[in-house]
Every structure is written in C-alpha cells, then in structure tokens.
Amino acid sequence: MKRITSAVLALATVFGLGGAATAQQKDWKTVRIGTEGAYPPFNNLNAKGELDGFEIDYANALCDKMQIKCTWVAQDWDGIIPALLAGKYDIIVAGMNATDERKKRVDFTAVYTRTPISFIAAKNAGTDISPAALKGKSVGTQGSTIHANYLEKYYKDSSIKLYPSQEEANLDMANGRLDYVIADKLALEDFIAGKGKDCCKFIADIKRDPAIHGPGVGMAVRKDDTALRDMFSKAIEDSIKDGTHKKVADKWFKISILD
C-alpha cells in the first residue's frame, strides 16, 4: 500500500508541479524560443533544415533590439504548450492566438499579428460557407487550433477532420479527401499559389468570433515569467511604432498582417 501511495505521489509531482520549478525570476540574457516549423510562411523548416519565416525574422529582430541572445527549438504543435510548461524553452513564437482557453495555462505578450481566416475548397465549390451549406461535408484543419475550436462550435453537422499539422490537411485537400479546409489566410496562400494551384481556391473569409479567436497572435510564456512577458510586449510595441515590424512583415507578405 505504501509503495502505491509513493508511486501516486511521484506521479503527482511529475504531472502537477513540473512547471513550477522555474518559479524564481531571472535576468533574461538568453531566451530559448519554441516554434512549430510547419506553418509557412510564418515559421517553417526550409530545404536546408533551418527555420525560416516571418516569425523567425521578427523574433530575431526583437532579440537584436533587446540585445539578448535567442536560440530556437522546433516542437510539434500538439505539444507546444506542454513543452513550454515543462521548461523546454521560454517563449512560444508560433502564430498562436491569445485565446481565453490558452490563457488559463500561459500568459501572452502584446499582439503582433492578426490576419484573416479563410475557407478554401475545390475549384468548382460554391461560395456559401454557412454551416447549413457545409452540412455533411468533410472539413479539415490542424488540431489544437482556434480553427478546430471554431469548427466544433459552428460546424457540428460537418465531418470535422483534425490533422497534426496544417500541411497534412492541405495535402488531403489536394488529394480530394477533404471538401473544405480552414486556416489563416496567409498560411493558405502559399498552398493555393503552389501545390494547391490546380485543385483549390479561396472561398471566403470568416467573421472572427472573439470568444474563440481572441484578440490576435501573441507570444506565450509561462505564467511566472511576467518579466519576460513584459520585456517582449514592450519590444513588440516599440517595433510596431518604429517600423521594424512593418519592415520584416513587408519581406514576407504583400498585405498588412496587423489590421
């Protein structure tokens, strides 16, 4: 019996208190940044196996401004918050919208992108994206995202397919296994201009639901790391004021990513 109790206690320590170990505030001279590396053009592993994308350039620019050293860690999307809480890195820069659900676990910096969300579909599809029109259709997106939550809330009568990464959803769209895909418009643009050129087109943008989508994309930190959060929030706000944000964004996007 005693052995069982101590095993349970050990489990509780692993699961419950794992994130609390880094409670004391420290002086942030080096910061480890976690990203997904599968969400072009925001963050992506290029052919050489290096991370690139808007978020990589932008966060590096912020780090230079703050004169701190930043290193990058690529982490699968599904585990990106748990790995932050487990101390594998200190901040998430991965197109993560600051939703209320996530705020229960992590804190967010100021918003640095807010982009339209769109449906794509086969070339011959109609433009109606109402839940009634998509009833019984298969709709795909990446799991653990605001898009998945949005589908669950509004498109209950559609067959919702969730993928480990957006690229796999896009692939199944091109293969004809999905009728619709929903994601950030800018992330889909690459696909529509490239591999999805022959199969698919943009159908329509959705109306944001603040309860699901939150105010926009921020960087996520552990709740204890308020100093780090404030440091990056200030850097983001400064970069928007002094034009650094726009300069980096213009390299990657034709339209404004902060409407």
């Binding site: 489990l11 397919k161 692939l171 091109a174």
Partner: protein, 237 residues
C-alpha cells in the same frame, strides 16, 4: 448526467467530465478497428502461412517477402503509405472504383492494420505448424490417414496450443499500435484523448486513456487464460 461523464465526475476532473463520453466513443472505434483487423488478419494470416510453407517456391518466396516487409517496417510508416499514398494514386483508384473506400481514413486504417497483423500472425502460425514434430505426421501416415486428416486432427490441435500465447500478444500489440490511427484524423481512443488534451491541457486525460488501454489488455489476457486452459485441458492433472 450520462454514464460516461461519471468517471470525471467522481474524480472531480473537469476535463474528464467534458470529454469522457468522447473518449468512451473513441474506445469503441479502437475496439472495432482491432476486432476487424485481427479477425480478417487471422484469415489472411493462415493463408499466408500455408503459402510460406508451400512447396511451390515462388509462392513461398512471395509470402516471405510480404511478411518481411510488414514485420520490418513501422506501422505508422505503412499507414501513411496507404493513407497519403492512396491520395497520390487517386486517378487510378477512381478508375477501378476503389477511391470511395480509400477516401475514408477508417478504411485505410483497418486495411493497413489487417495487412500488418496478417504478416505477424502468419509468422506465428508458420512457427507453430513447423514446431509439430515430423514423427507425429509420419505416425499419422503409417496409420493410413489422408493428408487433410493428418493436418486437421494431428498438426492443427498441437499447433494451436503453441500459437495461442504469441497470438494473444499480437492482439495486445494491435490494441496499442492502433493508436497511430489518430494521426490520420480518426477519433479512436488516442484521437479523442489528444483532442481532450488540446482543449484542457490536463495531462490526467492521458492517464485515463492509459487506464482504458490497460483495461482492454487485461481483459484480453484473462480471456486468453481461459482459452488456454480449455485447449490444454488434456495436459492438466
């Protein structure tokens, strides 16, 4: 309150209460996938074992090649090959009228798992049949029995005893391997658990899923004990 919300309710765990029912329905999908693939795999596996032991050389070589491939590559790799591979060959599959099947993730998973477990089961049967001493077969022949009678009445009962344990292991391994189905959009037990975790960030849903997997495996083990006792009853005192 529905019964499947009760475990979460008793444990006072909000994530389990909200997602308990979906996880239980995921458990149903897992059990279906395993039942379908293991039983179809049994039929296919027996045929493969015969092919492997056949004196017709090309047949034996082909069966051996098949078994080597499916036992030698990760099941996740096989599933992706079938699932995403089917997408690449869509025009061909369309033309033979099979796309309707391969379009469904459920079919792709059941298909892959069947092919996979058939290879393992064939190896188990082959080993079990080969392990029956030649003297037994010769004894049958000297009694003037026909080859089918020798197989059914002498070889098969003894081979079944030997095959039983490894076959039970294979079913258990299939239960656990079936979790990869969640990576091709299926809401099996692992898929629903990932969904619950993604929404709640509460690790205890994985503990609950682990407990459910353990429960299935333990049930299978107990059923196997009963069957084994029954098959070996002539050896017991």
């Amino acid at each position: 309150m529905i019964w499947c919300e009760l475990p979460g309710h008793w444990l006072g765990n909000a994530a389990l209460t909200s997602y308990g029912c979906r996880m239980i329905s995921g458990l149903g999908i897992t059990l279906q996938l395993v039942a379908i693939s293991v039983s179809l795999g049994l039929v296919f596996g027996v045929l493969l074992a015969f092919a492997r032991l056949s004196p017709i050389r090309p047949l034996a070589v082909a069966a051996n090649g098949y078994m080597t491939f499916f036992r030698g590559t990760p099941i996740l790799c096989q599933l992706f090959l079938v699932y995403y591979g089917a997408g690449q060959f869509r025009p061909f599959l369309d033309s033979v009228g099979l796309w309707g099947l391969f379009r469904e993730a459920y079919f792709c998973a059941a298909f892959t798992f069947t092919l996979n477990t058939a290879a393992y089961q064939a190896e188990i049967f082959r080993g079990a049949i080969a392990s029956v001493p030649r003297g037994q077969i010769e004894a049958g022949r000297s009694l003037g029995l026909h080859p089918p009678a020798i197989f059914l009445r002498i070889v098969l009962p003894q081979a079944a005893m030997i095959a039983l344990r490894p076959l039970g292991n294979e079913v258990v391994i299939m239960v656990k391997s079936s979790a990869v189905a969640s990576l091709v959009t299926l809401y099996d037990l692992m898929g629903t658990t990932r969904l619950a975790f993604a929404r709640s960030f509460d690790l205890s849903v994985y503990l609950f899923a682990a407990a459910l997997y353990l429960m299935i495996v333990e049930t299978i083990r107990r059923v196997w004990d009963v069957v084994e006792r029954r098959l070996t009853r002539h050896l017991q005192t």
